[in-house]
């Protein structure tokens, strides 16, 4: 298995991007990543596009073929990878395989989603179609409902309070204020969060991510060839990918994200690292409770103690283990197919020391958790400096 490096990355601003369609976004992020890699003259071997719902939301299919045409990556073979909200990380994983297998020497992975052109109702319903058709979907189960039920379990069992959710939101909004690519650029206060409208008791609007458009992209090559492109290649040191039962209720313990546990263990094993080797983390906080649960199930904090780490500022930008310096899904935004790729872009910038005002102090290794379904199909990546 060849070592794989990330040699370029780029993204669009996330947000309500009027006048830009999905292909505009994918093209913009891709060209930025290619430019960043200095690979504008090169021929690419493979292209992967992470996207969850182009056909459903913007009535265009085969978007990987369209991207290749749009930015002339011809004759690279191209496909779209879909794993619900983890489509982005799944696309990166398959790009990794293409390079590590020896089949491809230069790969573009782009992820993107155009969401704000559709009605909120339509999006909510489409996202709900990830749930179990007969055991969840028909009953009116939505992702916010699942997050709310998980939150209540955490409140009952571990003493998490609404204030802890608000603290995560406040932290992530503060980080996003320092990220020019983030969707939400406004300060969030504990009081503001706790007085926002209730969407799924005990979840208020501010404990969930907004609906965003956006795209992100990375360029991969074998680590041994990375110096043709950059002085600062970022090595994909490990990845993990694990599934769990689909329904929340059938999990061994509905308060445990077992797919996060397993995928994290796989990634740490492959990277020959442990959680305390990690300097910066991006989690999948589509709902703020998830940042807490993932930080525990990934192994960074003891089960049931994640909220205490938030309370103590451990996960703040200047804390011992900064989580979501980008602003996270909560404040950077969550254009579904883009998210997993954008997490990796953020880590690359952090490792290179290019994260501007939100730069974490001298990080050597980063960890990203992108999850599909409601946590039943998780993809983890561990990145480290390759120089």
């Amino acid at each position: 298995m060849r070592d794989v490096a990330i040699i370029g990355c780029g993204m669009t601003k996330f947000g309500r991007l009027e006048g830009k369609d999905l292909m505009d976004l994918l093209a913009e992020a891709s060209l930025r990543a290619i430019d960043d890699a200095g690979a504008g003259e090169r021929d690419f071997d493979s292209v992967y596009v992470g996207n969850m719902m182009a056909g459903e939301l913007v009535h265009q299919t085969a978007v990987a073929s369209a991207l290749v045409d749009r930015i002339n990556l011809i004759p690279a073979g191209a496909e779209r990878v879909e794993n619900g909200p983890a489509s982005g990380a799944s696309a990166v994983k398959n790009g990794f395989f293409a390079v590590s297998s020896g089949a491809s020497d230069l790969v573009l992975v782009a992820g993107g989603e155009k969401m704000t052109a559709a009605d909120t109702d339509v999006i909510g319903d489409l996202v709900s179609t990830m749930t179990h058709p007969t055991a969840e979907y028909v009953h009116g189960v939505t992702l916010p409902a699942m997050a709310a039920m998980l939150t209540r379990l955490y409140m009952e069992r571990y003493g998490v309070t609404e204030r802890h959710l608000a603290m995560v939101a406040v932290k992530n909004h503060a980080n996003a204020l320092k990220n020019p690519y983030a969707h939400l650029h406004r300060e969030c206060t504990i009081e503001g969060a706790m007085s926002s409208i209730m969407i799924a008791d005990p979840l208020r609007l501010y404990y969930a991510c907004p609906i965003s458009d956006g795209a992100a992209a990375v360029v991969l090559c074998p680590l041994e060839k990375a110096n043709e492109f950059t002085d600062k290649p970022v090595r994909i040191a490990g990845f993990g990918h694990a599934s769990d039962v689909q329904t929340l209720q059938e999990r061994e313990d509905p308060a445990v994200l077992k797919s996060v546990q397993l995928a994290s263990q796989q990634a740490f094993k492959m990277a020959k690292l442990e959680p305390n080797d990690i300097d910066v983390v991006e989690t999948h906080d589509a709902f703020e409770i998830l940042e807490i649960v993932q930080s525990e199930d990934a192994g960074f904090f003891e089960k049931g103690k994640g909220h205490l780490a938030v309370e103590k500022g451990v996960t703040a930008l200047n804390g011992k283990l900064p989580i979501n310096p980008s602003g996270g899904l909560k404040a950077k935004g969550h254009p579904v197919g883009a998210t997993g790729v954008a997490q990796i872009v953020e880590l690359v910038w952090q490792l290179r020391g290019e994260a501007g005002e939100r730069q974490v102090k001298n990080p050597k290794r980063g960890f990203a958790c992108n999850f599909g379904g409601f946590g039943n199909n998780t993809v983890i990546h561990i990145l480290e400096r390759g120089w």
Partner: protein, 113 residues
């Protein structure tokens, strides 16, 4: 003709599952028999949903996870607006929602007296 809430019992290892899988979650066995899960399910967690999916008229929609006596859990609508963790409920057949103007029926959970 009363409908019963049922699970699926693996003929190899005896594990009961809901919903149905084609292979047992424990032993990968492929033969099952339908079994009743019993009355007196316990509420483990719930939410009151204010952003409603299509075909549900009045907020909040109360959803919860219940645990049947044998340990099998199910998610569904609760008929009460005042759920309490630990309360006992029983499955009752009724209208769940409309989807594309079609009425969908299934089990909900109603508090036991």
């Amino acid at each position: 003709m009363e409908q019963k809430f049922t699970g699926f019992k693996c003929k190899s290892c005896g594990r009961v599952m809901y919903p149905k899988h084609d292979r047992c979650l424990d032993c990968k066995g492929t033969e099952f028999e339908e079994v009743e899960l019993g009355e007196g399910a316990t509420l483990l967690t719930y939410t009151k949903l204010y952003v409603l999916p299509e075909g549900i008229e009045m907020p909040p929609l109360v959803l919860g996870i219940v645990k049947f006596p044998g340990g099998v859990r199910a998610m569904g609508q609760l008929t009460t607006d005042d759920p309490k963790i630990g309360m006992k409920l029983r499955p009752v057949w009724g209208k769940l929602r409309k989807m594309k103007d079609k009425e969908i029926f299934g089990f909900k959970f109603e508090p036991l007296k």
